[in-house]
Symmetry: C2
Subunit: 191 residues, 2 copies
């Protein structure tokens, strides 16, 4: 998606070998007009699927997921993150390891908001090692719901998340795909 | 706002003396179409103010704040919550006490996303004891920015948050105002 790639080139900041900071428009400060465009693009790519619900994880996933929900006119559910959960009554939970923070979190969704009738689109801000998406897929499985696809704002193709999802034949649509960082600049994957 | 009051009556659940659960449409599962309506209503009420930025706190504030940002076409910044912050470089921080959870959190916003030129609208999902809003006001003060008003989705008029803001002559617009809970039902304040 050209609009997004241009924005990443203009406002993204490459830190070290594999970190892209997009906190000026995606995950701390948010550009609402850009979110509308992203939501519409997710809709364009998945509109032929019978999506009934959009799933994401707090907090950075909420903005693009909500924008997608506005385009699909379906509910958005965000999983809550907890350091640990003592009480798991009426919750689907899964453990998610963060390679960035080197910590494990429980993510949880109330059982009443996901059922076996649901056709789910997962939306998240980043796909890197794929742990958050794997946790959501685990929860979708617990609910007996159907995963229709995964919509990602920014994918880093050189980390293992994409391969994990491809191996499971899950449809992934990423609006920007980063193949590498070279000398502090972003190199986008050629489709 | 009639649409919101009707939705609270239909889908809100009153727990005990002073808790209203709206996790089916506002703060766990989100109704995107309702968010668009809320965002437009915030715009209708504050459109004569020269708003340059919308501020909220993760995670429940993000959806209504983003919807407001879409109506105003201005950036939305969400404060991140931390149990404790050891590194405060380049951050505005404030301590927020949660009466519900009986814990204190640090909230933080990167300094680069709030400046003395900004005219800020705070948006949050609930106004109860007002601690989150007070923390954001503290941060706005640190940045030397101007607070133009506070937009709240659901206010509980019987808790002390509203009075705190009135005492400081801050304009507050709440889209639903709850005066009391009686026998498990919501009693809305008469304007």
């Amino acid at each position: 998606m050209k609009l997004l790639e241009d924005r990443i080139e203009k406002d993204g900041r490459v830190l070290g070998e594999d970190v892209l900071k997009v906190d000026s428009f995606l995950n701390h400060q948010i550009d609402p007009d850009l979110m509308v465009a992203l939501g519409n693009e997710f809709y364009a790519r998945f509109k032929d699927e019978p999506i009934t619900k959009i799933l994401t994880v707090e907090s950075s996933g909420i903005a693009p997921a909500l924008a997608a929900g506005m385009a699909f006119h379906v509910p958005v559910v965000f999983a809550r993150k907890h350091k640990s959960l003592t009480l798991k009554d009426n919750l689907y939970t899964s453990e998610v390891y963060s390679f960035t923070k080197k910590t494990a979190n429980q993510i949880a969704i109330a059982e009443k908001f996901l059922s076996s009738d649901d056709k789910v689109l997962i939306v998240d801000d980043f796909l890197a090692n794929g742990q958050a998406v794997e946790g959501l897929i685990d929860i979708i499985g617990q609910a007996g719901a159907t995963l229709e696809g995964v919509g990602i704002v920014i994918e880093k193709t050189f980390q293992k998340g994409r391969q994990l999802l491809d191996d499971r034949h899950i449809r992934v649509e990423s609006l920007a795909r980063i193949a590498a960082f070279e000398n502090g600049h972003v190199v986008f994957a050629q489709d």
